[in-house]
Amino acid sequence: MSDDPAVDVRGLNHWFGTGDARKQAMFDIDLRLPRGSFTVLMGPSGSGKTTLLTLIGCLRSVQEGSARLLNQELHGAGAEELSHLRQRLGFIFQAHNLHESLTAQQNVVMGVQVSGGIPDDVAQQAAAHALGLVGLSDRINYLPANLSGGQKQRVAVARALVGNPALVLADEPTAALDKDSAADVVDLLKRMGAARGTTTLLVTHDNRILDRADRILTLEDGRIVSVSGQC
């Protein structure tokens, strides 16, 4: 079972709009992400990177084709099912999207408690530990407003990874960061992913990151035009 890929997409098509304005955005996508792999998805703006990411991330309904995530078919899955599946994913957004009223530790706790049934003190400890792993053990009680951009994105990484998700989806996590912070964050993602056996799919057009990827997929106009690296 664990040899099955974390993500297995076959013949995926997707459209936006309805009627005459209906426009196809994804064409016949075939994509497999082996468990534990670190994949970078590249492509120019408007090529459909984000659409593909949100389809895999259970944030949009699959319209045509098959997409299996952690051995569950997404095509035809209900909203409740998708929401439940999302609890097993880790999301990192372009903007850090931390809750500004919550401290770093409390933000990470939200990543722990999404699965429910975890005692508060356990969640607090897990959050503190995760923040230690991203090098922020001295900042756990800071509000996001008092953290730098790189520190905030590291908190976001801790929040995404603290629940030990099977798959981490990151959408341009380095876009707002300077070179050093960007490298920091990607190294963190890669290192923590490898240590936990997490599959990572990272969308970017930041060339500085490419050498860290196992595989690079390039998307153009809704089609995968090249795959490099081992599959």
Binding site: T54, L59, R60, N97, H99, S101, L102
Partner: protein, 390 residues
Amino acid sequence: MTRLLQRLFGRLPIGWLQLTHKRGRFAAALAGVAFANVLVFVQLGLMNSMGAATLKPYEFFQADIMISAGDANALSEGGNVARQWMLQALADPDVADGMGLFVSNVLWDRGGTSISFTSFGIDPAHAGFVAPGLTDDQDLLQVPGAVILDRLARGLPPEEAAAIRPQTPLRFEAQGRTLTAMATFAGGGGFGGDGFMLMSDQTFLSLFPARTSAAPDHILLRLRPGSDVAATVTRLRGLISDQSLRIRSFADAAQEDLRYQQTQRPTGVIFGFGVLIGVLVGIVIVYQVLSADVADHLREYATFKAMGYGSRFFLGIVLEEALVLGLFGFVPGVLIGTGILMLMGAVTTLPLTMTPGMAVTVFLGTVVFSALSGAIATRRLAAADPADLF
């Protein structure tokens, strides 16, 4: 506080943290909720004061049954009742005593201002009809022209009222006659007059020559101890041949008067509408506060939604906020509301008070409507598509 709430909910008190994060906005939200509370308190206070003022004169007397004319909806309204029906009623074995009650407003012209006293003419020989504790001086009423004055009457200087004693009576002129206030009692202003006055039926008749002792406004009856009031009322209805008369227990008469004031008289209807409008405006304010808060945090909620949090989680946050706002807005609301009612009460001498019932009703109403508003506002979350976050 955060720790306490964390214990209580078994999760991070996000609603509390969210509300208190921006102090200024939290204060504004609390001010809004407090204002909504004050609004409802004042309107409720006015409406209740009308009820209390209506029931007040009934507390002056001690009777079991009251017989009034068919059109007598209130103590000082309607025609009179022939005294002969009292004699008829006294034939019933359970009726112990009866007294005619005369009611009319007497104007005391003080030169420039005048005080309108709702005046009761009673028979001083039937002392048992005056409620115990109201006054010990009703025997003094046997002196022609003697009255007992309401010391809380609107427009009557307290020091002037305090000086009134049997040894130092206060003489004043009303209806072209000289009256002598020998003592005072605690009444209070109402909507029908500035205060109350007690006098003998003889003094009353001398003030109103057109009235006759054969036809008082109401007849009060007292029953023998242990008698069944309802059964006696039924018997009296058979015994008294004038079917147009209203024969009812004294307590029912008070309640019917109250209902009449609230539903038929303009003041009562206006106060009822006041409460309705107050409640509606209060609901709108509370809804604004809650929905603005949800709108402010839409992006954060969308993030939580993307992480896999469900609608119950968001409902929990909003209910938590409703509780916090309801509780923390209520404290200043009830304090200011009490203050305003006391101030209005002092100026108008109306019985305007904050009752525990009002406080509890308004608090629960605030929490319920906040929660409801929040629940409606969370429906906006359906529009917060987490896919848009990317």
